[in-house]
């Protein structure tokens, strides 16, 4: 059940025992894990994340934060890239394995009720939080245009998800193996000009998000970005994850990870 403005999460975060329903490779180095997590699934909003306990090993001590890629019924899906020790162990999780997550966490995307058209810009794994956003937006009648970027055609993440819900999906690849030959940011200017959206949402490498934010502000369109920081607690207690904003230091795990681009001091 989506509320009109996603950010007004009615629930507080909780610690939920979960089990692995599926954990499959979607492309080399990227997998999707589906967790049986009814309570978090019911309350997660687009842009929220969960703090996942990957293992009880103390040599990989801390939880790892992952955006909610999709939340349907009793299931929470996480789309993740295998980078280091934590995500390597995560890729080894077997169906039936049990662990726990803290969630839903953080401030999600905001979406004015009267939003007619939204532009969603995803770079690489930035697609993770945007999948759910695109779904929920179109589900409540907002037209969604997606600009999806990757190094090459093979690495276009969650393209199907977007195509199934978006009115229009444009892709860009660094090597030109699919869509526009170049950066996804190069599509944004044109897409905004052709059909100015009420909001732009961006998630990806920080330089990409920053460029999108600049283009949006030049076009006078409000823009929200989802930022990543290393996170220890994930709940707002340790001040590991701070982001410099016009409002001062803000916690990515609490006042973020989604920020109004205009407030971020890049």
């Amino acid at each position: 059940m989506t509320s009109s403005d996603f950010t007004t999460s009615t629930e507080r975060p909780l610690l939920e025992r979960v089990s692995v329903i599926a954990n499959d490779r979607v492309l080399s180095g990227v997998s999707l894990v589906a967790l049986h997590a009814p309570r978090v699934a019911a309350t997660a909003r687009p842009g929220n994340f969960v703090h996942l306990r990957i293992t009880d090993r103390t040599d990989v001590l801390l939880r790892r934060p992952f955006s909610v890629h999709r939340a349907t019924g009793d299931t929470v899906e996480l789309l993740y890239q295998v980078l280091g020790p934590g995500t390597r162990l995560m890729a080894e999780m077997r169906v039936g394995d049990e662990t726990d997550i803290i969630g839903p966490l953080g401030r999600g995307f905001s979406a004015p009720e009267d939003l007619a058209h939204a532009l969603v810009v995803a770079g690489g794994l930035g697609a993770a939080p945007l999948g759910m956003l695109a779904e929920r937006l179109s589900a409540r009648g907002t037209a969604v245009t997606v600009a999806l970027g990757a190094p090459n055609a093979e690495r276009l993440v969650a393209r199907e998800t977007f195509e199934s819900v978006a009115r229009r999906v444009e892709v860009a690849t660094d090597d030109g193996s699919a869509g526009h030959h170049g950066y996804v940011t190069e599509l944004v200017e044109r897409l905004i000009a052709e059909d100015t959206p009420g909001m732009v949402y961006a998630c990806g490498p920080e330089p990409m998000s920053r460029t999108v934010a600049e283009i949006a502000s030049a076009a006078g369109v409000r823009c929200e970005v989802s930022l990543e920081r290393l996170m220890a607690c994930g709940v707002g207690a340790c001040l590991t994850c701070v982001v410099q904003t016009t409002e001062g230091l803000r916690r990515a795990c609490k006042e973020g990870p989604v920020f109004d681009a205009a407030e971020v001091l890049w």
């Binding site: 920081r229 290393l230 607690c233 207690a237």
Partner: protein
């Protein structure tokens, strides 16, 4: 989960429900963790470090994971004592838990000023004077690695407060027992240890330090052996109570610190791994006592059988 075991301990006249506190800076002022923990079950809540004026802390990245531990270089970011009193303390006053405020300063004057400001606040049960933060240049650890300076800070705070004064010691010293004795001599009611070990992590492939500040404080299970040793040394060197911490993840870990001489313990990094860690530790201590037919947790204090 009430248990037949008497878990109460007392520190400098402060009666605690049980020996388990939160470690400063890992639990903020409790609000965030109140979603997961019934704060009224805690022995005490120790706040994040509070200074006189707002501190911005260090640049990012502020943490790095290490084998069985983590480095942090937060740098005592905090809004200053006024805002702390208005916002955090106001909220804490409504919670049924003893509040120990962790006091920071760049100078002896700042430590004293913070203590003075808090003296009139009834919601504050005790002060923990942090002379051991490895993450600030001026003050912080400097005061905790020199007996004379440690004594001076203690005396300055002691003069302006009637509340119990706990001095938090640094493990980054040659002789922690000597520092403990010097703060005891200046009227400290208790000592807490250890703060983090100064450490460093490097991203070899980037040829760069992992922390924005280059060095940071090591915490977690990795440091437990060093922390236990220091608690044991200090407990035998002073007659004031010792609050032990460093890598406590379970009730059994906590019991080890008490056997080594700690009257109470604090749980820090474990909160990040399991937001309910404090409760698990409390129940674990009770379970240990039950299993060994020990009626009072206080009987564990210094009960280690050596030689």
């Amino acid at each position: 989960m009430s248990s037949p075991v008497d878990l109460r301990v007392s520190i400098a006249g402060l009666e605690l429900r049980n020996p388990v506190m939160t470690a400063s800076g890992t639990f903020a002022s409790g609000k965030e963790y109140s979603d997961f923990v019934d704060l009224s079950r805690l022995g005490a809540l120790v706040t994040k470090g509070v200074s006189l004026t707002p501190w911005a802390g260090n640049e990012s990245p502020r943490m790095a994971e290490t084998p069985s531990g983590m480095l942090n270089s937060i740098g005592l970011q905090n809004p200053g004592v006024e805002s702390f009193v208005e916002v955090d303390l106001a909220w804490l006053a409504a919670q049924d838990v003893p509040v120990i405020v962790n006091v920071s300063g760049h100078s002896i004057d700042e430590y004293r000023a913070v203590a003075e400001r808090l003296e009139s606040e009834d919601a504050v049960s005790a002060l923990e004077v942090n002379i051991s933060c490895p993450n600030v240049d001026a003050g912080g650890m400097a005061f905790g690695t020199d007996c004379a300076q440690a004594a001076e800070v203690t005396a300055a705070v002691r003069r302006v407060t009637r509340k119990p004064v706990i001095v938090k010691l640094s493990p980054n010293v040659t002789d922690v027992a000597a520092i403990a004795r010097s703060v005891e001599a200046e009227g400290a009611d208790a000592v807490s240890l250890v703060n983090t070990l100064l450490g460093m992590a490097i991203d070899a492939h980037a040829f760069k330090p992992k922390l924005g500040r280059v060095v940071g404080g090591l915490s977690g299970p990795a440091i437990k052996p060093v922390a236990l040793r220091m608690v044991w040394q200090v407990a035998r060197a002073v007659s004031i109570p010792v609050i032990g911490m460093g890598g406590i993840m379970s009730g059994e870990d906590a019991v080890e610190f008490m056997l080594a001489g700690a009257t109470a313990v604090a749980v820090g990094t474990a909160n990040f791994v399991d937001p309910t860690a404090t409760i698990r530790v409390i129940d674990g201590i009770a379970g240990f006592c039950r299993a060994h037919g020990i009626a009072r947790a206080a009987d564990l204090i210094g009960a280690l059988r050596v030689g």
